[in-house]
Point group: C2
Chain length 308, copies 2
């Protein structure tokens, strides 16, 4: 296939031409234009309204998390290929001079930096678990979290950004309450996405675990039916579907890692329902066109409730 | 002074106790609570309303920018101490095994990562200049940008976060139009901040240039009156003031670096007016209390326009 025939190439060009996105110079890094942000705010508010009855505790997280949190999630064991670590300069004037000398010589001056103890957060709910000290109340706790995520998977496909935001409803409690959270919220998200004109499917899935061992982990995850994805066809019937959301039961992974106990003193179980904001928005632009004012009336009503 | 007597200690504890912020485990990294985010959205909208007559082109930027952009700004020459670079894993299964072995031994496994060509963006307007190719129209162009910024200055003072958002109005044009933009928008931001109950001053300032050479650069910047800051007293009359905004004339620094030309084919000049969102919000919580519902009626009217 030539470039123009690649499934994502036409959409990418349309998004850039319309100023919905602009390229920053590295695959998967984009500036977000006015129409994109207008739709973002509306989709974000719709997600909050959809799950308002959960009375979830609301937290927002920055793009960076402490290494102490990152280590507890064991992320680098399963997903080294997606991991991002921050390096910083800790020297004085002589070390700076050496850095600038390397830079002037065209060498990679990052060798003059050192690990900072800070990591790019790979998932919106990871920093949340670090806030949950002590025992949970009976019934567990439910959270509404939005966070900026980083995954190092450079791609020209605009549906695969390296930085993106994920909006999640998360429950931490018992195995029963966690599984119930996943299985009760996921159909409501499917319904929400249907209300804004997306044709979606809810399918068994697995995470992109790394390497040979990872293939076994992915297989185990599927067998245990821990992970489901909400997918949509952005590039037509011939191209693969794209996941825009996921529903995950973590078992006691985070409860054990972060020392969270349920009301009975047992290790807590958790589940999350996540919506990939950028992917969902691009799916909307692909489906309904590049100008939000021209989106179908039913979609605009669902998103803006008549407050356009 | 004991910990409780440090200027920032009492405010920090009040913010944490009220759930406006929560600690993530590293200095300057916080989860943002519901009251914080409610006020964020209102302040953000107020900033947009304040400068709506500029008809600025709106862009939003992620926390990460390409190294190609970072290099053009020359940031690491002036501010190495604030710089953050992303390292990633590029190996296969054997390299991953080596990383995990180092990790299991308690060693710093970041040595197994490599520079990614991605940097933490230190200022909201830096990625903007990368979008401006070719010549500007007569009168220049004006932008409304919001971006997530990283500066490596770990501190227990909640007013000094390592990740924060900056909302800016930026002008790129001639020297005259850039200076006019700075000098006309800054008093309007002072007025906006006064309308929400903050006592602010507009003062000559300099950037925290690094090292001995940096002291000369700072002195030159002051002599040329390139940078002003909007400051407020968050910790009482005895403690130093905190900058919550800045107004900067960049001369042709970014025009030269990014090859931007004005309508006459001359190198473009630029200026930006920036509001530090997190700092401004914490100044509001310090001044008006930890519950937005209890903020003075005039402040609530300015922020929410009766739409609470």
């Amino acid at each position: 296939m030539t470039g123009a025939e690649l499934p994502w190439a036409a959409l990418r060009q349309r998004l850039l031409d319309a100023g919905v996105l602009a390229e920053l110079g590295e695959p998967g890094l984009f500036a977000l234009g006015a129409e994109f942000n207008r739709a973002f705010d509306a989709l974000d508010a719709l997600y909050v309204r959809t799950f308002a009855d959960l009375n979830a505790e609301s937290w927002r997280f920055p793009a960076v998390e402490p290494k102490s949190v990152f280590e507890k999630t064991d992320y680098v064991a399963s997903f080294p290929q997606l991991t991002g670590s921050l390096s910083v300069f800790t020297g004085g004037t002589p070390e700076h001079a050496a850095l600038l000398k390397a830079r002037a010589a065209g060498a990679g001056w990052e060798d003059h930096l050192h690990p900072s103890g800070l990591m790019m957060s790979p998932a919106a709910c990871h920093p949340l678990y670090a806030l949950l000290t002590g025992s949970l109340p009976a019934g567990g706790r439910t959270f509404d979290v939005l966070g900026s995520c980083f995954r190092h998977e450079p791609s020209p496909d605009p549906m695969r950004m390296q930085t993106f935001r994920m909006h999640e409803v998360v429950h931490v409690g018992t195995a029963e309450s966690a599984i119930a959270h996943r299985d009760q919220t996921a159909p409501r998200l499917v319904e929400m996405l249907t209300s804004i004109g997306l044709e979606v499917e809810y399918v068994l899935a697995n995470d992109p675990f790394f390497g040979r061992t990872g293939r076994i982990m992915a297989s185990n995850q599927r067998e245990a039916a821990l992970k489901f994805e909400i997918t949509t066809k952005v590039y037509g019937d011939e191209a693969p579907e794209t996941a825009i959301g996921s529903a995950n039961y973590h078992n006691d992974h985070f409860g054990t890692a972060f020392g969270i106990l349920d009301a009975n003193g047992q290790v807590a179980h958790s589940a999350c329902l996540g919506l990939g904001m950028e992917r969902t928005l691009l799916a909307l632009f692909a489906k309904h066109g590049l100008s939000t004012n021209a989106w179908p009336q039913a979609v605009r009503s669902a998103l803006w409730q008549g407050n356009e």
